[in-house]
Symmetry: C2
Subunit: 199 residues, 2 copies
């Protein structure tokens, strides 16, 4: 048992990491559990030791993805070396650089699975909703800070601006993946930071 | 042969209609050709008479969807009883009413398949890109008209505003499907028509 415990932990993490990378590329439905198990050389029994089903595995994959994404987002949106508006722009520019490096493939797992699975799996939809709500609240806090300092428009609530900011970004990423160009992101960044948000 | 020709035409249309409705609900990967054939009582051979593969069938389904969508969009964006800004708003309000009626399910086939298939099928991606480009050009024409009449802001090109308008709308629809509420669409409509586009 003394050697089994850390091994088990590693297998579970390895399964979540592999699932995250494959689902990011291929979506939920196109991801085969067998393929993941084969790549990791993990027996099927181990998979069902950790996860009840592919669906509950996907919920844990989404949570695993969210851990890193929320940590990165927190750092970006609390970087006191930048103004709140500059922090929001840094988030977009980092996303643009990442998508460009990936040749406009993959995008964001939360956006991808939302589109694919919102009508297919209620447990996944609820988890994705929860994460989106949390991220929007983090954007809203940053926008409030910018409104208080007079840098961001005050005619709309920070909550409404954060919703438009996030949904606009998700849409721009989706179009960038479709046209295989970061141009939709460039247009979004230009109009968002030079017109819609700027006081 | 005299009776076969119209039947064949009807079978092809029936296959496209059924594929459109099922793919709108379940996406590409989750749509089974067998399920469609069974529902329509059409033999497998007939399917392969009309379509080379599931992928080329999906391209035709997308074109079939686009025919109606472009006709509706053309009517809305050329309705001279309304100003250009009001026409764009009518497009959004009709979309909001439709999504609300569908309990925030389905959404738009072009947006849905873009998210699911842009990284999976190059022929589908190219067709989706072509349609998105055409729709954005239609939005841009309407925006140009509004800029010429002084109703819409002139500080940005109609092309850039049309891109932000369409990508923002796609993102808002995606989030509405995820949170199962039309609230993201309401926020989009409010900010787009009272701030970003309005001169």
């Amino acid at each position: 048992m003394t050697t089994k415990a850390p091994l088990k932990h590693d297998s579970r993490t390895a399964l979540l990491e592999a699932g995250m990378n494959i689902m990011l590329e291929k979506g939920y439905t196109n991801t085969g559990i067998q393929e993941i198990l084969k790549a990791l050389d993990i027996p099927k029994g181990s998979f069902y030791h950790y996860f009840d089903s592919k669906e509950s595995y996907a919920v844990d994959v989404v949570r695993h993805y969210d851990q890193t994404a929320t940590k990165d987002l927190h750092e970006t949106l609390h970087n006191t070396n930048q103004t709140p508006l500059a922090r929001l722009k840094s988030f977009c520019e980092a996303g643009q650089a990442k998508l460009s490096k990936q040749e406009c493939r993959k995008g964001c797992l939360i956006g991808n699975l939302s589109q694919e699975m919102a009508d297919q799996s209620e447990v996944l939809r609820l988890e994705l909703s929860r994460i989106i709500g949390k991220w929007q609240a983090m954007f809203a806090d940053c926008i409030t800070e910018g409104q208080n300092s007079g840098e961001i428009k005050r005619e709309y609530s920070a909550t409404a601006l954060a919703e438009l900011f996030y949904s606009g970004w998700v849409g721009a990423v989706l179009l960038a993946k479709t046209v295989k160009s970061t141009e939709p992101l460039e247009v979004f960044i230009d109009l968002m930071f030079n017109s819609l948000l700027k006081a």
